[in-house]
């Protein structure tokens, strides 16, 4: 269970399949099963592999079906113990509210109860920890949820009825809209552009819940192109971006450095998979607006840049961030570093702030012995990576 979090972090930092990792993060939050959590210690890794990763770039219908019969989800949201005599509504509610159509679809409380009843019997074998369908626990009686209904007449047929219901939800236009909106929130802007949401909703429905065509359309859109600099990085994204820019590499042996890194990100409130409520980490800047968090990422940045901690991770020399032949003024040094670190030069007033930090002006000559490329290089790199230019993506 604890290894799943560390492995997720390692892949986010070092995997070559970055889009896959971003989508794993997206779906892990969408179908959140908090990790670590005391009722999923034996199966959370399997959920990660066979529900989230298996379908992260596949069809949402398949992922939702897989989650609906996975012991991790069934225990996490208490469906495992939900019976016709004593139904637990937790899963039935979140299946509608979080996993599919959302409250805006306008289902009634009675439909929400039916949602819980139709899923009774989807449970976990206490001795093996595997999924089991228990017909004797299934509530058999006609159900109606939004415009889906079923006679649901037999206990043995309950499994197929439940699957049919989940399939219906995955293909519902409101589900399409929610997922399109959340994808825009993830990749484009905190307030998603309505035209793009409309387009992605349609693509999702046309493609039978396949995600790849939706992403392809998103990344080809003018809204995506125009969105550069619109999103604020979450703390983990901030740290990972810093690591990738600095070229920080894994432990040469063991995982001590990785575990420290997990702890660093956990202390920033953003440990992967660890959001405690079923709705997953928020993905908008306002939710992450925190002075303590800001100070925390500034300190994490300096620690990584200066290679104070985690020591076991390998960091290439900072001098490698600069061309072999140094620029000849401090002004050009700041430009060169900014281009390397935040992919742009800074506007005059901010460039001046960095130069003041060095106690120099733009024309001050730079030599290989200047403080700025010697003992103050780490501070200089950390300052630029602590600026808003790095916090925005």
């Amino acid at each position: 269970m604890f290894d799943v979090g560390a492995a997720t972090l390692a892949r986010a930092a070092w995997s070559k399949r970055q889009l896959l990792e971003v989508m794993v993060d997206f779906w892990s939050n969408h179908l959140n099963v908090t990790n670590p959590s005391d009722n999923v210690w034996d199966n959370r890794h399997d959920y990660d592999r066979n529900v989230i990763r298996a379908f992260a770039l596949g069809r949402y219908e398949d992922m939702l079906l897989a989650s609906a019969r996975h012991p991790a989800m069934l225990r996490y949201l208490n469906n495992a113990e939900s019976t016709k005599g004593s139904p637990n509504e937790n899963y039935g509610r979140e299946l509608l509210e979080l996993h599919s159509v959302g409250v805006e679809a306008g289902y009634t409380e009675e439909m929400m109860r039916d949602s819980a009843l139709v899923m009774t019997g989807f449970s976990v074998d206490w001795s093996t920890g595997a999924f089991v369908y228990r017909p004797q626990w299934h509530h058999k009686q006609a159900v109606q949820i939004l415009d889906w209904s079923s006679a649901n007449a037999t206990a043995d047929g309950g499994y197929d009825v439940g699957r049919e219901y989940v399939r219906y939800l995955a293909n519902h236009p409101s589900t399409a809209r929610r997922i399109a909106t959340k994808l825009c929130e993830r990749f484009v802007a905190d307030v998603p552009p309505p035209t793009l949401v409309d387009a992605l909703t349609q693509t999702y429905l046309d493609s039978g819940t396949a995600i790849a065509p939706v992403l392809r359309e998103l990344f080809g859109s003018s809204e995506f192109e125009a969105s550069l600099g619109e999103k604020v990085r979450r703390p983990m994204q901030d740290v990972i971006a810093t690591m990738r820019i600095l070229g920080i590499q894994p432990d040469s042996k063991g995982t001590r450095g990785l575990r420290s890194l997990y702890w660093m990100i956990e202390s920033l409130g953003d440990a992967p998979l660890a959001w405690v409520q079923p709705n997953g980490y928020p993905d908008t800047a306002d939710a992450w607006r925190s002075a303590g968090g800001m100070l925390g990422t500034w300190n994490a940045t300096m620690s990584l840049v200066a290679h104070w901690w985690p020591k076991e991770l390998r960091r290439p020399p900072l001098r490698d961030l600069l061309p072999p032949r140094l620029p000849n003024t401090h002004g050009k040094l700041v430009d060169t570093l900014a281009r390397r670190l935040v992919f742009r030069t800074l506007p005059t007033e901010h460039k001046d702030a960095v130069l003041q930090f060095l106690g120099k002006n733009a024309d001050s000559p730079l030599t290989k012995d200047s403080d700025a490329v010697k003992w103050r290089l780490a501070s200089l790199v950390a300052l630029i990576l602590s600026s808003p230019y790095h916090k925005i993506r």
Partner: protein, 432 residues
């Protein structure tokens, strides 16, 4: 903090309108920047929130001490007169003869002796058989529900966030978690909070001396000008808070009235809370965690062991906090909360398992102390809920009464949905 630190002479003076010669501190810089209007643009939201509050907060500082892991209140505040208590706990139970008698029904574990005088003087009060709306015996879920404090709703914020959200006045220190860099989930939501390991450690690691601190402070302030408010606002608050903690670090801290805190995480955290209270930095709500109460095995007995040690540390820290605050106790109310109490019947490993009804301790000048409040449900087999002490008082009623009578909160229906109007007369109304 040194008011006349000289930074290396550069072109700063020309830039910020500082006195010639580059004599500059954070404060003179701030004044200069404010005069030129440089700081006003991006940070309006926080500026109105923090800098120009019409009336400062005049309520009690509300300190929430979370006893994580499931605090066994039946070992701490023992129902001595209940004939079933020692039947359920033949090995770990506290014998009546060794209890510090509180009233005809209850006695205190002898390891809590340091708290007994506070109970006698009326600053320590107890509420027994407190519970959440429904028993929940999972640590994660029960803690989450306790800190959300909105059962039966789909609210995703924490109760402290909702309390703070209803107030317009405040400083960066209005809601603080001490002893942890992560705020408790009771802070979850849009209202700002600060989480810090300690006052001493709250600093910019890159700034190892006064000169570096000034350099970083200037540079970061300027770099965040013009940034989106979601970045510039917390940056400004962080820098403001750093300014305050730098001053506090410089001043140092010696607890008053000879108070001696235990040299533990809990002792240090409560010492910092007292320090922030006395420094008048605008603290309104402070949270501290004290964990490791999950005593499934080997909790010890009256003579010693895990529980006795933990109760001793807890009592010593609370007593020191009370001593240190002195007359400030009139403006502070502390409560302890835990996610659940523990099973009445001891298990085969000399411990107790997850249960339901719990105990709340209340400390402060406004507490109706010297009493054990609440509706005692009894420990006979048919008084129990699935083998556990019943929770007859909703813990939110305790919080609500303190917020209303001590912290100037108005209607609490948004903070605690469906809370109702029952109150237990746990605290006195704060004089205005």
């Amino acid at each position: 903090m040194n008011e006349t630190t000289t930074v290396p002479p550069t072109d700063q003076a020309a830039d910020c309108g500082c006195p010639e010669g580059g004599v500059l501190t954070r404060r003179t810089f701030l004044k200069a920047a404010a005069a030129t209007g440089a700081l006003t643009v991006a940070s309006e939201a926080y500026a109105t929130r923090y800098a120009f509050a019409a009336e400062p907060y005049a309520g009690d500082v509300f300190v929430v001490l979370s006893l994580r892991g499931g605090f066994d209140g039946l070992q701490a505040i023992v129902p001595a007169s209940d004939p079933h208590y020692l039947d359920w706990r033949p090995n770990v139970g506290i014998p009546t003869s060794q209890l510090l008698q509180l009233d005809p029904t209850f006695g205190m574990h002898p390891a809590m002796a340091e708290l007994k005088p506070l109970y006698d003087s009326g600053d320590l009060g107890i509420v027994h058989a407190v519970g959440q709306a429904e028993p929940n015996r999972s640590h994660f879920e029960a803690m989450e529900e306790m800190e959300r404090a909105a059962p039966g709703t789909s609210l995703r914020t924490g109760w402290i966030d909702r309390v703070i959200g209803g107030r317009t006045d405040g400083t960066p220190f209005q809601a603080v978690q001490v002893g942890n860099s992560m705020p408790a989930h009771s802070f979850t939501g849009p209202s700002p909070e600060l989480a810090m390991w300690s006052v001493e450690s709250f600093g910019l690691d890159a700034a190892w001396d006064e000169e570096q601190r000034d350099l970083w402070d200037h540079a970061l302030r300027k770099l965040y000008l013009g940034a989106p408010p979601s970045l510039s606002a917390p940056a400004q608050v962080a820098l403001q808070a750093l300014d305050t903690t730098a001053d506090l670090q410089e001043e140092g801290y010696v607890p008053a009235n000879g108070a001696v805190y235990p040299n533990t995480d809990l002792g240090r955290a409560l010492r910092d809370v007292a320090r922030l209270i006395k420094a008048d930095v605008g603290l309104q709500v402070a949270c501290v965690d004290y964990g490791d109460w999950d005593m499934h095995a080997g909790m010890g007995n009256v003579d010693g062991g895990w529980m006795a040690d933990h109760l001793g540390e807890l009592s010593g820290a609370l007593a020191a906090f009370h001593t240190d605050l002195g007359t400030k106790n009139q403006d502070v109310t502390l409560v302890t909360l835990t996610e659940f109490g523990r099973r009445i019947e001891e298990n085969g490993s000399g411990g107790t398992d997850h249960g339901y009804g719990q105990v709340v301790l209340m400390l402060g000048g406004g507490v109706n102390g010297g009493q054990v409040h609440g509706d005692w449900p009894g420990l006979a087999a048919n008084d129990l809920i699935d083998g556990d002490l019943n929770g007859t008082t909703d813990y939110r009623l305790v919080l609500a009464e303190i917020l209303e009578k001590r912290c100037g909160s108005g209607t609490l229906t948004d903070v605690f949905p469906g809370i109702g109007s029952d109150r237990l007369d746990l605290v006195q109304t704060k004089p205005t």
